[in-house]
C-alpha cells in the first residue's frame, strides 16, 4: 500500500455540517418551548409530569429533540475523533463505538417515551 501518501477527497461533509446546524436549531427551539411550557404550568406531581409527556404533540417533539441530539452528538464526537485520533484502525473503532452507543440511546429514548 502507498503508506507514504495522504489520500484526501472523500467528497462528503456538507450534509453533516448543515445538519449539525439544523439540529442545533431544533434543540434550541425545543428547549425554549419546553422551558416556557413548564414555567407556564409547572407540574406539581409525578402524574402531572408524566401526563405532559404522554400528550401526542410533546411526545413527538421530544422524539424529534432526541433524534436531533443524537445526530448532533454524532457529528460533534466524530469531528473530535477525526481531529485528534490519527491511526485509521483506532479511529474507525472509536467511531463504531460511539455510533453503537448512540443507536443504543435512540432505542432507550423510544422505550422511555413510549414505554409504560
Amino acid at each position: 500500500m502507498a503508506a507514504n501518501k495522504v489520500p484526501v477527497g472523500a467528497h462528503y461533509g456538507l450534509a453533516a455540517w448543515l445538519l449539525q446546524r439544523l439540529t442545533a436549531v431544533i434543540m434550541a427551539a425545543y428547549t425554549i418551548g419546553l422551558g416556557g411550557l413548564l414555567l407556564a404550568c409547572p407540574p406539581a406531581t409525578h402524574a402531572e409530569w408524566h401526563a405532559i409527556f404522554t400528550g401526542p404533540f410533546l411526545r413527538l417533539a421530544t422524539m424529534l429533540f432526541f433524534l436531533a441530539l443524537l445526530y448532533h452528538a454524532w457529528v460533534g464526537v466524530r469531528d473530535i475523533i477525526m481531529d485528534y485520533v490519527k491511526p485509521t484502525g483506532l479511529r474507525l473503532a472509536l467511531q463504531a463505538l460511539v455510533g453503537t452507543a448512540l443507536v443504543f440511546y435512540l432505542v432507550w429514548s423510544v422505550s422511555i417515551l413510549w414505554g409504560r
Binding site: 495522504v6 484526501v8 477527497g9 472523500a10 467528497h11 462528503y12 461533509g13 456538507l14 453533516a16 455540517w17 448543515l18 469531528d79 477525526m82 481531529d83 485528534y84
Partner: protein, 231 residues
C-alpha cells in the same frame, strides 16, 4: 529593552530553549524587526527570515508575546516586556525563528492558485469589470505569511489534510474570480471532511491576520456556494 527569544539549532541542541537579551534601542528603532536586527549586531547566531521590512513579503512572521504577527509592522511601543518571541507554532523548526513552511505551501498549491480557463485566449487579455474585480478585495491581499494557518488548532492537528485558513482564503479568491471557469472542480476538490470541514470557526485566523483579512468569512462563502449547488 528585555527580550526572551526561543533558540534551537537541531544540530547542537537536544531541545529548544529560551535566551534572554537586554538591548538598548536606537532612536530610529520603531518596529520589532528593528530590535531583532539590533540583537543580531550583539549575537549574530540568532537566525530569522526577513526581507521587505514593511509588511509586504510575509517573511518575518513569528509568535510575539503569544500571538502570531509580522515583526516588521509590530510597534515596539505596544509590546509588554520581556517580549517573548517564538517561531510560528506547529511547523518544524529549521533553526531559531525559521520554520519549515513545506506543509503550508503544499496546502496552498493544492488549491490550484491560478485562474483556470481552457477557452481560447483572447487576442489581448481577459478583461474584468470593476465590479467583478471588487469581489477580490479582502482576498487578493494575502501575502502567505502563514500567521493564520499556524494559529489554527485544526491546522496544527491535521496539517497534511486540512487546507488551512490561508489556503482556503486563496481557494475562494479563485472561486470568486470572474475569469475562472473551474468553480465546480474547485468545490468538488474542497468538499471533504478534512480539506474544508476541519474548520470549526475558531477564528484565530481572523484575530492574527496582519493584513486584516477574514479567512473565516471566505470559508463561509465556500460552504454557502456548496449549499447553493446542493439544495
Amino acid at each position: 529593552m528585555k527580550f526572551r527569544i526561543q533558540r534551537y539549532d537541531p544540530d547542537r541542541d537536544a531541545r529548544p530553549y529560551f535566551q534572554d537579551y537586554d538591548v538598548s534601542l536606537g532612536p530610529a528603532d520603531r518596529m520589532l524587526l528593528d530590535a531583532l536586527v539590533r540583537i543580531k549586531t550583539v549575537d549574530d547566531t540568532l537566525s530569522l527570515r526577513r526581507s521587505c521590512r514593511e509588511g509586504v513579503c510575509g517573511s518575518d512572521a513569528m509568535n510575539i508575546n503569544g500571538k502570531n504577527g509580522l515583526a516588521c509592522i509590530t510597534k515596539i511601543a505596544d509590546l509588554r516586556e520581556p517580549v517573548v518571541i517564538k517561531p510560528l507554532p506547529g511547523l518544524p523548526i529549521v533553526r531559531d525563528l525559521i520554520v519549515d513552511m513545506t506543509q503550508f505551501f503544499d496546502q496552498y498549491h493544492s488549491i490550484r492558485p491560478y485562474v483556470v480557463d481552457d477557452t481560447p485566449r483572447p487576442e489581448r487579455e481577459r478583461l474584468q469589470s470593476p465590479r467583478d474585480r471588487a469581489e477580490l478585495d479582502g482576498l487578493y491581499e494575502c501575502i502567505l505569511c502563514a500567521c493564520c494557518s499556524t494559529s489554527c488548532p485544526s491546522f496544527w492537528w491535521n496539517p497534511d489534510k486540512f487546507v488551512g485558513p490561508a489556503g482556503l482564503l486563496n481557494a475562494y479568491r479563485f472561486i470568486a474570480d470572474s475569469r475562472d471557469r473551474a468553480v465546480n472542480e474547485r468545490l468538488d476538490d474542497l468538499e471533504d471532511p478534512y480539506r474544508l470541514f476541519r474548520c470549526h470557526t475558531i477564528m484565530n485566523c481572523v484575530d492574527v491576520c496582519p493584513k486584516g483579512l477574514n479567512p473565516t468569512l471566505a470559508i463561509g462563502k465556500i460552504k454557502e456556494l456548496m449549499l447553493r449547488r446542493a439544495v
